[in-house]
């Protein structure tokens, strides 16, 4: 399981101070999500595409992530044009596809893709640990950060446990079918994972106690904000304001 494939790169974005990237990302998301109409969200999409161009992530991985997210947006396209009341664009029997509905769905699609691409270009280009560290500096509650960080540290372990159980099941000739035996096996698998994770959590806590854990992780490295970071912050915020003025 590879969690940080986008973080392995050498672009300018990869090297920016993660604190700056988080701030820009938060401002960007708020502006983008609140943007009315179609034109303004399109501008924001251009902005995140520009960042993407700078970050140059692995194309295949990027497309698969974007496709996954757009699967959910596809559901929006089924319901919104039909349920949104407005001028008829197309009549399908007793149902009405409204013009405003389509516009609304386009707007949602643009915004979601802009934010997802922004996340990949800005957030995924830092390692989970640097992000946790940056959040600590930005005064995000400590408990949330420890949760985020331990989640990141142990999700691969839980995934390995899952693979081990799956292999054990397959090695004994299991073929999934639509019957009680299959459902029971899946339930055992989930139950086994829950119990193992719980026990592991207890063990880890014990290990932390043995090393004098007192509620926080001491930090070894510190960030330094440079000219490039300040410039990026300023340019981005100005761009967002320009977008709003323009429309």
């Amino acid at each position: 399981m590879h969690l940080e494939e986008f973080a392995e790169g050498k672009s300018i974005l990869h090297n920016l101070d993660p604190r700056v990237k988080i701030i820009v990302f938060v401002v960007f998301s708020i502006f983008c999500v609140l943007a009315p109409g179609v034109k303004l969200p399109l501008f924001f999409l251009f902005y995140s595409l520009a960042l993407l161009f700078i970050a140059r992530p692995n194309t295949k991985a990027f497309i698969s992530r974007l496709a996954m997210a757009n699967l959910f947006i596809g559901i929006v396209w089924i319901f919104i044009p039909l349920s949104y009341k407005g001028n008829t664009y197309l009549a399908l029997g007793s149902m009405n596809v409204s013009q405003e509905g389509i516009q609304y769905a386009v707007s949602i699609t643009l915004k979601s893709n802009a934010v997802i691409i922004g996340t990949i270009a800005l957030i995924s280009t830092s390692s989970a640990f640097r992000l946790a560290h940056a959040m600590l500096h930005l005064k995000v509650p400590k408990k949330l950060i420890i949760l985020f960080f331990l989640f990141y540290r142990y999700i691969t372990v839980v995934h390995e446990e899952y693979l081990t159980i799956k292999r054990a099941i397959l090695l004994r000739g299991f073929v999934p079918r639509t019957d009680i035996h299959t459902y029971r096996t899946f339930a055992y698998m989930v139950g086994g994972l829950l119990i193992k994770s719980y026990e592991r959590a207890e063990e880890i806590y014990k290990a932390m106690l043995c090393r004098g854990f007192g509620g926080s992780f001491p930090l070894l490295d510190h960030f330094r904000m440079g000219h490039r970071d300040a410039l990026f912050l300023l340019l981005s915020i100005l761009t967002f304001f320009a977008f709003w003025m323009k429309s």
């Binding site: 989970a128 960080f149 014990k206 290990a207």
Partner: protein, 217 residues
């Protein structure tokens, strides 16, 4: 001299299933003790009781000459006795090797520079140089084990409790651990199924079987 660890009349049961009864166990300074016994005989349980991670139903725990009952009592124990877990995956929770080794010393109140110096020293001793900036979960099983040992060593404990230190290690790594124990550690308890390792590392061997602890050699 006072003994480091003195367990008296300890009885422990997991959900009414008795693990051991009326066990006495003493570790004196300079003693190198091996603890063997069949699976499930309670070897790990005994070590966890010493660290205050499990509470026995009966008996007293005296460490460094003081009775230990509450979690607060065990704080000092945990800082001065180094416990190597059976599963290193659970012991390494920091992102990089460097941070993991520095975690203990920083919690003991060492400065950042001191902590980094300790990291370097420990890596030198165990031959882990070059791994400092590796991400812990990407290490191999044997490397994880050695790094876990390094995190314990970094706290400069007065006594070690090592649960299966040689498991998952190749010959070369086992040699490194053995030479560390022989040259740098004076007092420790090793739990292992590895007969050769126990014989090479310890001078006194106990066996825990059927709920009783007795001296083998």
């Amino acid at each position: 001299m006072d003994s480091i660890i003195r367990l008296k009349d300890i009885s422990f049961a997991y959900n009414k299933k008795m693990v051991f009864q009326n066990v006495d166990f003493v570790v004196n300074p300079g003693e190198r003790i091996g603890l063997i016994g069949p699976n499930g005989s309670g070897k790990t349980t005994l070590l966890q009781i010493i660290m205050g991670l499990l509470k026995p139903q009966r008996g007293t725990i005296e460490v460094f000459g003081k009775m230990r009952k509450t979690d607060a009592d065990f704080l000092e124990v945990r800082r001065k006795i180094g416990f190597l877990f059976q599963n290193s995956e659970n012991q390494l929770f920091c992102p990089t090797v460097k941070e993991d080794i520095a975690f203990g010393p920083l919690n003991l109140g060492k400065s950042k520079d001191e902590a980094l110096r300790i990291v370097k020293e420990t890596c030198d001793i165990l031959g882990l140089n070059g791994l400092e900036d590796m991400v812990t979960h990407k290490l191999s099983g044997g490397e994880k084990r050695l790094v876990a040992l390094a995190t314990v060593i970094a706290m400069k404990p007065l006594c070690f409790l090592l649960d299966e230190p040689s498991a998952e290690l190749d010959e070369d790594a086992i040699e490194r651990v053995l030479s560390y124990l022989k040259n740098y550690a004076s007092t420790y308890v090793v739990v292992s199924h590895d007969k050769r390792f126990i014989e090479a590392a310890t001078e006194k061997i106990y066996i825990l079987k059927d709920g009783k602890l007795r001296l083998l050699t």
